[in-house]
Amino acid sequence: MGRYVIRRLLQMIPVFFGTTLLIFLMVNVMGDPIAGLCGDRQCDPATAARLRTEFGLDKPVWQQYLTYMGNIFTGDFGTAFNGQKVTELMATAFPITIRLTIVAIVFEIVIGISLGVVTGLRRGRPVDTVVLILTLVVIAVPTFVTGLLLQLLLGVEWGVIKPSVSSEAPVDELIVPGLVLASVSLAYVTRLTRTSIAENARADYVRTAVAKGLPRRRVVVRHLLRNSLIPVITFIGTDVGALMGGAIVTERIFNIHGVGYQLYQGILRQNSQTVVGFVTVLVLVFLAANLIVDLLYAVLDPRIRYA
């Protein structure tokens, strides 16, 4: 197990450098960061040139990348367009997005798995068909449509929630945005759980559990669910990274000042340091989430052993 973890951690190093380099190059293609600094007006050429040397933008790209990576390892992620340190932005943005992600994951687990179990055990019945159609609708409709619709209905028309989240973003204000963020994954979790349950319900060991005279509840929870959740947990684990990075749309709609919002601002202002910095951290989150899922797999299924 220990050796496996070390090997996986070592494998992360090339992935880390590869992804950051790709992002760095892509941001570079995006356009002139100095032009972004000046906003909509044309830049004063003298100022632009001065800024270019100040930020080291006159050097070749590979040198810029090396300098940037060097800075990252000393904890310096650079400055954002408004002069704030990128690390400061991260310190305010990440807690908010993590909160939002947790709300979304809780929705996925509670609603997704419950619906999956109910439909999986009643395959082909009306409940199953209705939920299946609903998940199809949720998957088919883009997040921004569901988000805007809920905001309009709940926030503006009926006044149940505040249409925009305050800058502190407490959990209660994040419930509806969390649901919107979770919606598509929730539908997938439902379907995945349903298939897994329906398939395992016919397994021999479930029949054995029934033959042992166990109460139905115990058969379902201890024997059926325990086995059926293995693929679902894998999905939810990898989804953590996807949710954190994919919150851009949701955060825009509900005006949440999290990671997505800052990334959006960074792209808009062509501020490479913000974009690369945030994405780098997201890459790390993604890698860590994947590793944890793989390790969890061995815990959940004793047949899997890592050496």
Binding site: R202, A203, D204, Y205, R207, T208, A209, V210, A211, K212, G213, L214, P215, R218, R222, H223, R226, N227, I230, L300, D301, P302, R303
Partner: protein
């Protein structure tokens, strides 16, 4: 080993209220499955009974309804698509088909237990064997986790799994096939049930292990004075352990007999065919006999005797009339106890 001694001297009167009658009695049981292609009649009027300490072997090829009958007795049929349109299953004089789900659950595991064919898929892969064995005591007797584990270890000792204490936390995939089957047996035995149904307990094992497992099963049955229904398609396995045999074909019992008689003088052409298709050392080099044709499609069971398309003795009456299970007699008319045959020409088969 002390455990064996302790249980050995108490063959104990089993059960209390209904001592006289058989432990289990299946009467005119019908089971059908509703599929997209039609109704598959898996069991068509099966009758059999088992008493305490007795071993009934149910013999038949795949799809003959032997497992389905057992599942109906156990109450683990998938319903739907399964359905029991007719029949009664008496356990200690009470019809189990009229009981509530909860009453039946109480019987499962405690009074009637089942051993399944493929122990690897029948044991839960993600739970330790100790947990799965202990679960019986925790659910049915309300024991604590710790006590249940101690009982589980004792059980594993009882079925002679070496180093039970060290292996109690192992998972099913870490055991060999024979050991896994022993765990299945231990699980069925846990609450000392009155009746055990073993559904092809040795099919997935190699021959030497088969013998060990069968011996163990027979020994435990003697010690606990249990009724045993042994479902198999292996005539060789049956000979040593069974008291009586019921041969099934297309969801019906076609022949019943005490075990040794059937080998000497089968009274049904199907049984005869089965016996002749056993490889024998003295026929080395000759072609092995095989019953021609295929088992019937249960969606369209042949009219009359279901075996008629494959039977060498079939005549017109076999295609029109379903033969009932009739008592078999000697040529002079003296009754052969426990023998019956569902063949129009049983006389010709047994005496001819």
């Amino acid at each position: 080993m002390t455990i064996i001694d302790k249980t050995a001297d108490v063959p104990a009167p089993r059960g209390s209220n209904d001592e006289s009658g058989p432990l289990l009695e299946v009467r005119d049981l019908h089971v059908e499955f509703h599929t997209r292609d039609g109704v598959a009649k898996a069991v068509n009027g099966v009758n059999y009974s088992v008493s305490a300490g007795e071993t009934l072997a149910v013999l038949g090829e795949s799809g003959s309804g032997k497992s389905v009958t057992a599942q109906a007795v156990m109450g683990i049929l998938d319903m739907p698509p399964g359905r029991i349109p007719k029949g009664e299953i008496f356990f200690r004089g009470q019809d189990m088909l009229k009981m509530s789900n909860e009453e039946r659950r109480q019987i499962r595991g405690q009074k009637i237990a089942m051993i399944f064919q493929d122990a690897l898929s029948s044991l839960n892969p993600v739970l330790s064997v100790g947990y799965q064995l202990g679960e019986m005591f925790r659910v049915h007797q309300g024991l604590s986790k710790k006590d249940a584990k101690a009982k589980a270890i004792a059980l594993m000792d009882r079925v002679r799994i070496p180093a039970a204490k060290e292996r109690v936390n192992d998972y099913p995939h870490m055991f060999s096939g024979g050991m896994r089957q022993r765990i299945m047996i231990a699980m069925a035995l846990a609450l000392e049930p009155d009746l055990i149904i073993a559904d092809e307990p040795t099919t997935a094992l190699d021959v030497t292990v088969q013998a060990q497992v069968m011996d163990l099963l027979a020994e435990l049955q003697r010690d606990f004075n249990m009724g045993l229904i042994l479902i198999t398609h292996d005539l060789g396995v049956v000979a040593d352990v069974a008291d009586k045999i019921a041969v099934m074909y297309a969801g019906r019992i076609v022949e019943t007999a005490p075990v040794h008689e059937i080998y000497k003088r089968p009274a049904h052409p199907y049984t005869k065919g089965l016996l002749e298709s056993i490889p024998r050392l003295d026929q080395k080099g000759q072609e092995l006999y095989a019953i021609k044709g295929l088992p019937p499609n249960l969606l369209h069971v042949p009219s009359g005797c279901a075996f008629n398309p494959r039977c060498t003795m079939a005549q017109d009456i076999c295609r029109t009339e379903v033969p009932a299970l009739r008592p078999v007699t000697e040529q002079d008319g003296t009754e052969l106890v426990g023998r019956g045959s569902a063949c129009h020409f049983w006389k010709e088969t047994i005496h001819g």
